[in-house]
């Protein structure tokens, strides 16, 4: 049996999940310039919202998903409104903002553990076998197909919004230089709040998908942020196009990397790739050298 098609599919699935996280991560990083841990816990919040509404209350699956995305978005918005906006006004350093985000991350993670226990939970009905599809001998489930399509749609949608709309122009202006944007009359606080909301919605969506594909637990956020940050550094931190490429590059390298050697090397390969980029191309694939 030829395993290459299956490895390609595996890489695409991993890349799609990374890309959703990275899109939100880069969008927020571009505007605020600090490494924000909050999206990790927002992914968990998205997943747990769906778990609560769909599994425990028996609501409609699609409504639960929308609620999960929006709640993650609202939490992200609140994190900016209550914490980061004040830090920006006080001209707090990036380190302070990072530590604050770590604080929010830890606090919300603890709250989820208290509400839902720290056990691993599956969202979808496990008494049914998932529908699987096959192309060129490679199998994938419908949810994995959906993850891939959503990743592409989210990327194209976001790219169009940034390119074509006035809002997108404002976002790009804020990402270029917040001070100058303020001077020319852009309400930067409002724009950044929206960026937080959209980025957080994407984080929530990735958490929901991870929940469908494997399962959720309160501490899932750290791994998600690490993967998102890795993909984002490889692609070019703060650059959503680069982040998208970086996510898929990471997915392909770590899955193809173990084609000939044993699977235990997988994390070593992905972090090795990160180290190589940091050493030889620290600005990432898409960013220009400064």
């Amino acid at each position: 049996m030829d395993i290459i098609p299956q490895i390609i599919v595996n890489s695409l699935i991993a890349g799609s999940i990374y890309s959703l996280v990275t899109l939100g991560f880069n969008l927020v990083y571009g505007a605020t310039r600090f490494v924000n841990m909050v999206p990790g816990v927002l992914a968990a919040i998205g997943g747990y919202t769906v778990y609560y509404l769909f599994n425990q209350l028996g609501s409609n699956l699609y409504l639960s998903i929308i609620a999960g995305i929006l709640i993650a978005g609202i939490f992200g918005y609140l994190s900016d409104h209550l914490v980061f906006r004040k830090l920006r006004r006080n001209k707090a350093s990036n380190l302070v903002s990072f530590v604050a985000s770590l604080g929010i991350f830890t606090m919300l993670q603890a709250v989820i553990s208290i509400l839902f226990t720290s056990q691993f939970q599956s969202i979808l009905d496990v008494t049914q076998s998932p529908t699987t599809y096959e192309i060129f001998g490679a199998t994938f489930t419908w949810i994995q197909g959906l993850i891939f399509i959503t990743a592409i749609v989210a990327f194209i949608g976001l790219a169009l919004v940034l390119k074509k709309t006035g809002f997108g122009k404002a976002v790009r202006a804020v990402s270029d230089d917040e001070e100058v944007s303020k001077i020319i009359g852009i309400n930067t606080d409002k724009i950044i709040s929206w960026i937080f909301f959209i980025g957080s919605c994407l984080a929530g969506l990735s958490g929901i998908f991870i929940g469908f594909d494997t399962g959720i637990r309160p501490t899932m956020g750290l791994v998600i942020v690490l993967e998102g940050a890795t993909a984002s550094i490889i692609g070019g931190i703060g650059n959503i196009y680069g982040g998208f490429l970086g996510a898929f590059l990471l997915g392909f390298v770590e899955n193809f990397g173990i084609l000939k050697i044993s699977g235990e090397w997988k994390p070593a390969i992905s972090f090795g790739l990160l180290v190589l980029f940091l050493l030889f191309k620290p600005e990432g694939i898409m960013n220009k050298k400064k």
Partner: protein, 376 residues
């Protein structure tokens, strides 16, 4: 007074205070009247939290029974529960706290082999007897004089699994998936050696990180090697994901696992994907109804596994020994080596000169529609 004299006087004061502090803290370990402190290390969160919570409940049941019956020589037993997270780093923190801050007289735990191997140096150095109810890694045998376990080493389980696959199931081409933790790698190496010596062939051997949730490429490689059977070693969370991904990727051959699968969460979490997957597990006696009822009262009655009873037995043995020789750690240790034919609720225990169980019996269980069923 010159400055030098002042400094010298202050230094003397500091040294005296520290000396008094040290001597007090040594005596403070056990005052002889308060409750006797016993430490517990096990995964209350993390990859094996399901088994850990179950074990905690069983230890609480034993503690309550001992205390209701009047305690040990009139003293109550207090168990201090610390979360080892099935992770060496967390276990070291837990062990240090129990030994240095709480000054426990003995420790029940850890559960995962990586927890136990991480805290054995701490217990050994502090001369505090440690008995694990569940850690099966062969290295624990040599971990020290104060280290014991009420569960057999994987030297037995790895051999048993290899023989069961070869002789009973008649499978001689195995693909191995194993997590990178002390339990998985310990049992994997024993299994591999015995399987190859028995005439079998290892067609694929793929490791994965204990907390990984994407085993697809490893599974793809195992599948491509066309094994007759997949030997899949993992803790609960990764196993749920792995069993689902084995099904998604169309692996049709039988799946066989190790004793960490004795957790009903896997059957529930993986559902249909886990159906008919079998595993070997240390044989346990059928639990008495009183124990099952007591566990039910602690909300931990779901499919009691073999470890919970062993944890219960360890605390009972501690209480029995302390009732005879007091709370001196060295005396407790000496008595532990003398445990012979002790009739516990999970097993009959006889410890050898290394602090290991001298023999082992295994049963085969399998998952079926969200439940665990005994096969033989």
């Amino acid at each position: 007074m010159s400055k030098t004299v002042k400094i010298i006087i202050w230094l003397i004061v500091i040294v005296v205070v520290i000396a008094i502090g040290v001597s007090l803290s040594k005596k403070g370990g056990d005052t002889g009247t308060g409750p006797i402190k016993i430490g517990f290390v096990g995964p209350l969160t993390g990859d094996a939290a399901g088994i850990g919570e179950n074990l905690r409940a069983a230890v609480e049941v034993a503690r309550d029974e001992i205390n209701t019956a009047g305690g040990v020589k009139g003293r109550q037993i207090e168990v201090i529960f610390e979360d080892g997270q099935c992770d060496p780093k967390a276990a070291v923190n837990a062990g240090n706290k129990l030994v240095s801050v709480d000054k426990v007289v003995a420790i029940v735990g850890g559960l995962c082999s990586s927890e136990t191997l991480a805290i054995t140096p701490i217990a050994e150095q502090a001369k505090i007897p440690l008995v694990s109810p569940a850690s099966t890694n062969p290295k624990i045998t040599e971990a020290g004089d104060y280290i014991f376990r009420f569960v057999p080493s994987d030297l037995f389980q790895g051999k048993f699994a290899a023989e069961y696959l070869l002789k009973t199931m008649k499978k001689d081409k195995v693909g191995i998936l194993y997590c990178l933790s002390d339990w998985c790698t310990g049992i994997e190496s024993v299994f591999k050696q015995n399987f190859v010596d028995g005439g079998g062939k290892i067609v694929a051997e793929e490791g994965y990180q204990q907390d990984s949730r994407d085993l697809r490429s490893q599974i793809t490689k195992v599948k491509a090697a066309n094994p007759d059977i997949v030997y899949f070693l993992g803790y609960s969370d990764a196993s749920i994901v792995g069993l689902k991904q084995l099904q998604e990727l169309g692996v049709k051959v039988p799946i066989f696992g190790g004793d960490a699968w004795d957790d009903v969460k896997i059957a529930e979490g993986a559902g249909k994907a886990a159906n008919d997957a079998m595993f070997s597990v240390t044989a346990a006696k059928e639990y008495a109804q009183s124990f099952v009822d007591a566990m039910k009262a602690k909300n931990a009655d779901k499919e009691l596994n073999t470890y919970s009873g062993r944890g219960y037995d360890i605390l009972k043995v501690f209480a029995d020994i302390m009732g005879r020789v007091g709370v001196d750690s060295t005396k407790i240790k000496v008595e532990l080596y003398k445990v012979k034919d002790y009739q516990g609720i999970a097993d009959t225990y006889t410890l050898d000169e290394k602090g290991d169980l001298s023999s082992a019996n295994y049963s085969i269980k399998k998952f079926q529609n969200g439940k665990i069923i005994l096969v033989q």
